[in-house]
Symmetry: C2
């Protein structure tokens, strides 16, 4: 927390996992300060001693709140949900909650980790794009099918849930890696409906304190 | 559910994600039937049409329960926790719950996806071992540091939690990939204390209905 008692979010404008948390904070109306961690500059600021002390996984996001530091985006969102329950990001019905967590975990555990910066570095420049595309396409093939039975206006029914907080940043990654999203009409139309919501707009990578001028919108 | 109303777990004896769920079911005393999905035989039974209809991600575990099918191991465990709360696998205190989820997500999202079968296939036989070892070592370096501040008898305090259900199968993977665990005394000693518990014993990969005879113990 800052001296003023505000939570501090360690974030990178383009990190899809950071974006998930920014949306949760925005939806719940939680005022916070951003400390940008540039994952590229100086060989990656996440590798600094200071940041490693904060998150030994050397990843963003990390959130300082209520006297603790939490990392892992879904763990952060679940904590916010339990301590700041309004508006809720998990439905009341346990079966629908299971759908939300299933979709969130599919993206956060089954797609994003395979196409994040540190993994792509290991893959080597020549194969990076195909590798990332394969991970996203394989995940989206499954996700499109799952959403056909869970979706209403959004991923699960008609309320914005944690699953939507994972979907939009992942679609942005797909676009960045030039994945053709036409085979995914359900994913695409939910994404479109979410992107117009204020909480998704103000937290967009093109509007962060650390967004480079040439990428601002 | 079977005709007898029992939940059905689609599982593979060696899958670390399936093992997580088997421990949860055992701890909570939930009687279930196992349908083995052999990830190697016939080019991988997870790719069959029937199984894809059940889980489009083509992964185990999947659990049929209460009229729904859930995949993603942590989503399954959270559902079991919400619908069968005793004994609890998440502490009551929200800050401790955050620690449990942070550790679980670190393993389930930050380590396991990088060393699972389908990714190793893409990496190619020559690099598989080093790739898997790197993923585990990088995750365990962080995990060891985190556990030093959260652990009691087990990963978070003195009660068995979801984090422990992730830890033990991941240490088994580390051993399978010949990772030297001496730099991780906290991980190793928690793992040792957990392995003697009945729920971890009966669900062990060497004691499953689909464990090949030569690997049984």
């Amino acid at each position: 927390m800052t001296e003023s008692g505000k939570p501090i979010l360690y974030s990178y404008f383009r990190s899809s996992c950071s974006w998930r948390v920014r949306i949760a904070l925005a939806l719940k109306g939680i005022d916070y300060e951003t400390v940008p961690i540039n994952l590229i500059k100086d060989g990656g600021q996440q590798f600094s001693k200071d940041f490693q002390a904060l998150n030994p996984m050397k990843q963003v996001p990390a959130l300082k709140i209520d006297g603790i530091t939490i990392h892992q985006s879904l763990a952060i969102i679940e904590y916010l949900e339990e301590t700041r329950p309004t508006p809720r990001l998990l439905p009341q019905d346990p079966k629908k909650r299971a759908s939300v967590r299933m979709i969130s975990d599919l993206i956060a555990g089954g797609i994003q980790p395979l196409q994040n910066l540190s993994v792509l570095k290991q893959v080597g420049e020549e194969f990076q794009l195909t590798w990332a595309q394969n991970a996203i396409i394989s995940g989206f093939n499954a996700l499109e099918q799952i959403l056909q039975s869970t979706a209403g206006t959004y991923c699960v029914g008609d309320e914005v849930t944690m699953a939507d907080l994972c979907l939009v940043p992942q679609v942005a990654n797909a676009e960045r890696f030039k994945v053709d999203c036409t085979p995914y009409p359900t994913i695409s139309s939910i994404n479109k409906r979410l992107l117009v919501l204020e909480a998704f707009q103000v937290t967009h990578p093109c509007r962060q304190p650390d967004t480079p001028t040439e990428l601002r919108a």
